[in-house]
Symmetry: C2
Subunit: 626 residues, 2 copies
C-alpha cells in the first residue's frame, strides 16, 4: 500500500473541491413519481432573460439528466466512510423475496475480512449481504415478466422523460427534426409500463444488484437515452484506492451512466467496496481479472471453483453487472491465429489460453447455467463479453468475431430462461462502413438484447486521440441501436488514464451519445441544443457555457482571450472581434426585416423567393446586367 | 503593430524548434514523375524489424502524404524573408499564356506599397505579379478541357498514389476491406490522365494561382484522398504577423492540405504576403472581409469597385481560392428571419445586410461573370460560400440553406462556362441523420463540383469540444462524398484558437478524413492502419508512435507512466500491467496454436468450429453437464 492508501480514511472524506463543486447556474432537484419515495434527481440549469423591446422575456430553466449523485449538491452531507444513503433499501426489503445473510457466502470474502493486515484501509462500515430466499428470483426482469412495475422502473421512467413536458410546446425549445430511428421505437412519453415491457422482453436492462441499494436506477436499452460507461481501476503499475474513489466521483460528475472497475492490482476487494458504497451509478466488473489474481496470473491455473467464489464475493459486495467471456470457445481460438492483432480482450485472451492449455471447452461456457443461478440470486446482469472483438481495422467483422457473437445469442436465450438480465458487448475497431453490419448481426442473433460497444474505433492511426477515433464509430453505432457506449480515453493503447483523460473521454462520449439521440429522434434530445443555440444567438454567454456539457471548459476557453466580466454580455467574441460578428449583424438583419414585416411566409407571398426560379426559367441568364 | 510584428524580420527566420523539427523515424523523400522536374514530396517512416524464431523480419518503410513542405526537412534551408522556392515557376512560364506585369493592377496594392509606414514589417522580397495574356485563360480546368496534362496534374497523380505499389501486395499491409464508396469512383491507381479527366468535368479542382508558384500541387475531389483545411488569421482582438506565419507552418506540419487566411484585423495585406510566400499549400481567403475593412466595417458602404479591386489585389498576391458568397440573394434573406440562429456566416451576414440596406440584389450575384473574368486570369478557384448555412441543429437543411445551394449550382454552371474551377461550401450544424440529404442535394444541384464543408457539427451542446462534435459530422459527410473538410478547433464559438487548438483541430480532422477514406475504400488508406496495428501487436512501441498522426503526443502519453527507454520494447503498458496484457497473452496463444498446426482453415477442417452448430441443433442443451 502506498501512503495515499493508508490515509484514505482521513483524506477521502474530503474530496477535492474541483470534483464536487456544483455546476454553475445549476441546482440539483428531485422530481417525484407516483410513489412519494420515488424522488428522481435532475440538474436544473437556470437561464437569464432575453431583453426585448417589450421588456425582458424569461427563458425557462432546463432540466438535464444528472448522473452525479449527491456529490454536486452543496446541501448534501458526503461521508465517504459511511457511503451513500441506500435509497433503494426499502424497495428491496418490502418485496420480501430476499434476506440478509448472517455472513459472507464467499470464502475469499471471509478470508479477506479476517486478514488484520487490511483493517487500516478497509471500508469502515461493515455490512452483511442480501441474497434471494431459497427458490426466489430477484431480477428486475423476473418482476417485469410477472407484470410488476417496480419502484426502480418508475424511477427510470421519470428520469428518462427529463421533464420533457415543460419544454415540448415552447416555440423555440420545442423545435425538432423528425428522427431516423433505424428500427428503434421511441415513445413520446416514457411510462413505467413501457419500461416494464422493455425489461420483460429483454430489450432493456436495469442493472440493480440488491446489494447496491445506493445506486440511482437507470436503464440501458435502444428505446431510451443512449448511455455511457467509464472504465477505471488500478493496475499493477499505478493507482491507489483514494484515487479510484475520486475517479468514480469524477466520472459521474461528467456524465458516466455506469462505471466499470477493471482493477487488476492488489487490494481489488477493498477498492471495490469503497467504490460501490459510494457510487450513485451501477458498477460493473470483469470477475475473471480478480480470479486470475488469485492464481498469481497463471491463466492455466484458473478453476471453476475459484471463479464461482469470485462471482459470489463480488455479487455480495453489490456489483451490478459482470462481464463474462463465455463466448470464447475452444473451437473459435484457431480462428484468431491469422489475425493481424490476435485477441485483444484481456478476458478473451485469458480464456483462450486456458482453453488451449487444457484443450478443453471453456468452463464459463460449460457452467453457464450455474452462473445464471448466482446472477438471479442478487440481480446481477450479464454483460456478455466480446473476448474475440477485433483489435484492428484489418480484423473487423471476421469469422472469430461473428462466431462468438452467435454464441452470445445462444447464451442470451439461456440467461433469459432464468429471467437474468443481459446485455451484449461489442467491438472494438471497425471502419465506418462496416458498423451497420455489426449492429444488424447483433440484433439478429441476440434478439434485441441491448448492445454495449467499446467505440468502435473507426481507424487505428491516431494513438493519443483514440477518444476521437472511437467517438466516430460510437456515434454511428449508437444511432444504429447500441444502447450503451463504453468510453475510450486519449490514453487508450498508451497508458492508464488520469483525471484529465477521464473527463475528456466521458464528455467525448456524451457528445457521441447525444448525436445518436438526435439522429434517432429521441423526443427530449433537441431541447438542449435549441436552448444552447438560442443563448448563443442572444449573446447570453453564461447561459451558453452553463447549458453545455462542460461549462467549466467553455468559460475557461472564452476567458483565455476575453477574461473580463463585461465580455460576458458582449455582442462578439475574440474569434471575429466586434465588427465582424455574424450573429450581431444577423440580429440587425432580423430586426430590419421584421420592421418591414418580412418573414419566411411573406417572402413567399410577395414572390421574392420565386424570383430565383424565374431567373432559372429565363434560360440561364442568371442576372440582369445593369 | 505590436513589438512582435516589428521584429518579424529578425525572429520569423528562426521558427521555433517545435514547429519545424523532423517527425521521429521519418525523412522527407521525393518521388519522381514522368518529367524529371516533377518531384513529389512524401514522408517516409522507417520501421524496426520483427524478431522471429528465424531471425529478424524486416518491415518496409511507409510513405505517407506530407503537407509540411520543406519545413520538416533538416536538409532544407528556410528563410522566411525570402519565401519558399517557386517550384512551379518554370511550368507556369513555359506555358507562355501569362506575362509578368510591370506593376500591381490593384490600386489598394499600390497604395499599400507606397505607404512608408508599412516598410518595417512588409515582406522584404518585392515581386511583380503574373497575369494571363489578353484573352488567355490560365486555369487548370481550361488546360484539362483542352486535353493537356499539366505538370501540376502529374504531380497530383504521384502524390495521391502514395507509393501504393510498394505495399499493395504485402500480406499484412495489403489487407483491405472492400469500401462502400457511395457513388465515388476511386481507381486502383491514379494516373495523370484520370486527374485531367476529373478536373475537366469539374469533379475536382487543383487550386494553383500562377502567383503562388511556391505551392506543392494538390487536388480536391471526391475520387481522391479527403482533404482538410485549417483556418487562421488575426482579428481586431489579437494575433500578429509573426504568429500567423508560424501558425501556417504549424498547420501544415499537422496535415493541413490548404489554409484559409481569415484575417480581419489591421495589416491584412502584409500578413497575407508573408503567409503566401512561405506557404507550401494553397491559400484561400474571403475577400469580402478585407473589402469591409476598407469601408471601416460599414456593410452598407461596400461597392463593387472596392470588392473588385480587392479580388485583383489578392489574386496578384497569389491567393489560390476565394470564398465568395454570391448565393446570398436578396429574396433569400427573409427566409432566415424565423431561424433560431439567423445567419452565422460572416460573409453571409455582411451581404444580407448590404442587400437589405439597399433593397437590391447582391453585387456578387449580379457581377458574377465579371468575377469569373478575374478568376481565370490568375487561376483562382471559386469556393462558393454558404452564407446561409445553418448555425444550429434547429436550422439545419431549411429553406434558406437549400435556396442558396440551388443558386450555387447555377453559379457553378456560369463559372464552368468560363473554365473557372469551383468548389461549393457546405454546413455547418446538421444532425447525423440529415447529413446524407445535404450531400445528395449538393451533388444534384451542383453537378458534382467538390463539396467543402465546415464540420458539420452533429450537436450544439458541447462548446469547448466542437472539434469533436463536428468531426462526427465531418467523417460522415466525407464518407458521403465531401472532398475537403474545413476544420473546427476546440475554441469554436468561444475564442481565437492558439497553436494547441490548431494542432488539436487538424489532427481531429485528419482522423475524420481518414475514417472516410477507409469507408469509401480508398486503395491506399488501410495500409497505414495495418502497419500501425502490426507494430502495436508486436510491441514495436516506437513504430506505433511514429506511424500515428501525432507521434509526439503518443510518446508523451506513453512516457507519462512508463518513461524509461526499456519500456519501449516492453511487452505491456501501464493500462493493464505486465501480467494482464491481452496482446502478450494472445501472442502466446498464436504461437501455441501454430505449434500444433491450428489455423482458421484447420479449425474448419477438423470440425471444431462446427461444434457450436451441433450444440444448437441438439435442442438448446448448449453444454454437457459433467
Amino acid at each position: 500500500m502506498s501512503d495515499t492508501d493508508t490515509d484514505i480514511r482521513g483524506t477521502a472524506a474530503a474530496l477535492g473541491e474541483a470534483v464536487t463543486r456544483p455546476f454553475p447556474g445549476s441546482r440539483r432537484i428531485h422530481v417525484s413519481g407516483r410513489r412519494a419515495d420515488v424522488r428522481v434527481p435532475m440538474r436544473e440549469i437556470v437561464q437569464a432573460d432575453t431583453p426585448t423591446r417589450n421588456g425582458p422575456e424569461p427563458n425557462p430553466p432546463l432540466a438535464v439528466y444528472d448522473t452525479s449523485g449527491p456529490y454536486t449538491d452543496p446541501a448534501a452531507a458526503i461521508d465517504l466512510c459511511a457511503g451513500l444513503a441506500p435509497l433503494r433499501a426499502d424497495w428491496i426489503a418490502e418485496r420480501g423475496d430476499s434476506e440478509r445473510l448472517d455472513d459472507l457466502s464467499s470464502r475469499y470474502g471471509r478470508e479477506r475480512r479476517a486478514d488484520t493486515g487490511t483493517t487500516t484501509w478497509r471500508f469502515p462500515a461493515e455490512r452483511t449481504p442480501r441474497r434471494a430466499r431459497d427458490g426466489a428470483n430477484v431480477t428486475q426482469m423476473h418482476y417485469a415478466r410477472r407484470g410488476i412495475v417496480t419502484p426502480e422502473m418508475e424511477f427510470v421512467a421519470v428520469r428518462e422523460n427529463q421533464r420533457l413536458e415543460a419544454s415540448r410546446d415552447d416555440p423555440a425549445l420545442g423545435r425538432r427534426h423528425p428522427g431516423e430511428p433505424r428500427g428503434a421505437s421511441l415513445p413520446e412519453t416514457i411510462t413505467p409500463e413501457f419500461v416494464r415491457d422493455e425489461v420483460a422482453r429483454g430489450r432493456a436492462i436495469i442493472p440493480a444488484n440488491i446489494n447496491h441499494p445506493e445506486s440511482e436506477p437507470m436503464i440501458i436499452g435502444r428505446n431510451f437515452r443512449v448511455k455511457v460507461n467509464a472504465n477505471m481501476g488500478n493496475s499493477a503499475v499505478t493507482s491507489s484506492i483514494g484515487e479510484e474513489v475520486e475517479k468514480m466521483v469524477w466520472a459521474t460528475r461528467w456524465g458516466a451512466d455506469t462505471i466499470m472497475d477493471l482493477s487488476t492490482g492488489r487490494d481489488i476487494h477493498e477498492t471495490r467496496e469503497w467504490v460501490i458504497r459510494n457510487s450513485p451509478v451501477p458498477v460493473g466488473t470483469v470477475p475473471i481479472y480478480q480470479a486470475l489474481e488469485k492464481v498469481d496470473g497463471e491463466a492455466e491455473a484458473l478453476t471453476w471453483e475459484i471463479f464461482r467464489d469470485t462471482l459470489i464475493e463480488q455479487a455480495e459486495q453489490g456489483v451490478d453487472y459482470f462481464t463474462i467471456h463465455a463466448g470464447v470457445r475452444l473451437p473459435f481460438v484457431p480462428l484468431t491465429v491469422d489475425r493481424l492483432t490476435g485477441i485483444v480482450s484481456r478476458g478473451g485472451s485469458i480464456m483462450a489460453k486456458w482453453c488451449l492449455a487444457h484443450h478443453r471447452e471453456s468452463f464459463l461456457y460449460e457452467r453457464f447455467e450455474e452462473i445464471c443461478e448466482i446472477m438471479k440470486a442478487y440481480d446481477v446482469a450479464f454483460s456478455l463479453g466480446d473476448g474475440l472483438r477485433p483489435g484492428s481495422i484489418a480484423d473487423a467483422n471476421d469469422d472469430a468475431q461473428m462466431a462468438e457473437l452467435r454464441t452470445l445469442g445462444e447464451l442470451t436465450d439461456v440467461a433469459w430462461r432464468h429471467d437474468v438480465q443481459v446485455m451484449i458487448e461489442g467491438p472494438g475497431h471497425v471502419p465506418l462502413h462496416r458498423i451497420r453490419e455489426n449492429m444488424g448481426e447483433q440484433l439478429r442473433h441476440c434478439h434485441e438484447a441491448p448492445f454495449y460497444t467499446l467505440g468502435p474505433l473507426a481507424t487505428d492511426i491516431a494513438p493519443g486521440y483514440d477518444h476521437i477515433t472511437s467517438a466516430l464509430g460510437a456515434a454511428n453505432i449508437a444511432w444504429e441501436g447500441t444502447a450503451m457506449l463504453c468510453y475510450v480515453t486519449p490514453k487508450e493503447h498508451l497508458g492508464l488514464p488520469d483525471k484529465h483523460d477521464v473527463r475528456e473521454g466521458i464528455v467525448t462520449y456524451r457528445i457521441a451519445a447525444h448525436a445518436a439521440d438526435l439522429a434517432k429522434g429521441h423526443p427530449a434530445a433537441q431541447i438542449r441544443d435549441n436552448a444552447l443555440s438560442k443563448a448563443r444567438f442572444e449573446f447570453r454567454w453564461d447561459d451558453q457555457f452553463n447549458l453545455g456539457l462542460d461549462p467549466e471548459r467553455a468559460r475557461e476557453f472564452h476567458d483565455a482571450t476575453l477574461p473580463k466580466q463585461a465580455h460576458k454580455v458582449a455582442h462578439f467574441c475574440s474569434m471575429c472581434g466586434p465588427k465582424f460578428c455574424s450573429m450581431a449583424i444577423s440580429q440587425e438583419v432580423q430586426a430590419f426585416a421584421r420592421e418591414r414585416g418580412l418573414d419566411a411566409d411573406s417572402a413567399l407571398e410577395t414572390g421574392l423567393a420565386e424570383k430565383a426560379q424565374t431567373f432559372r426559367e429565363q434560360g440561364g441568364a442568371i442576372y440582369h446586367r445593369r
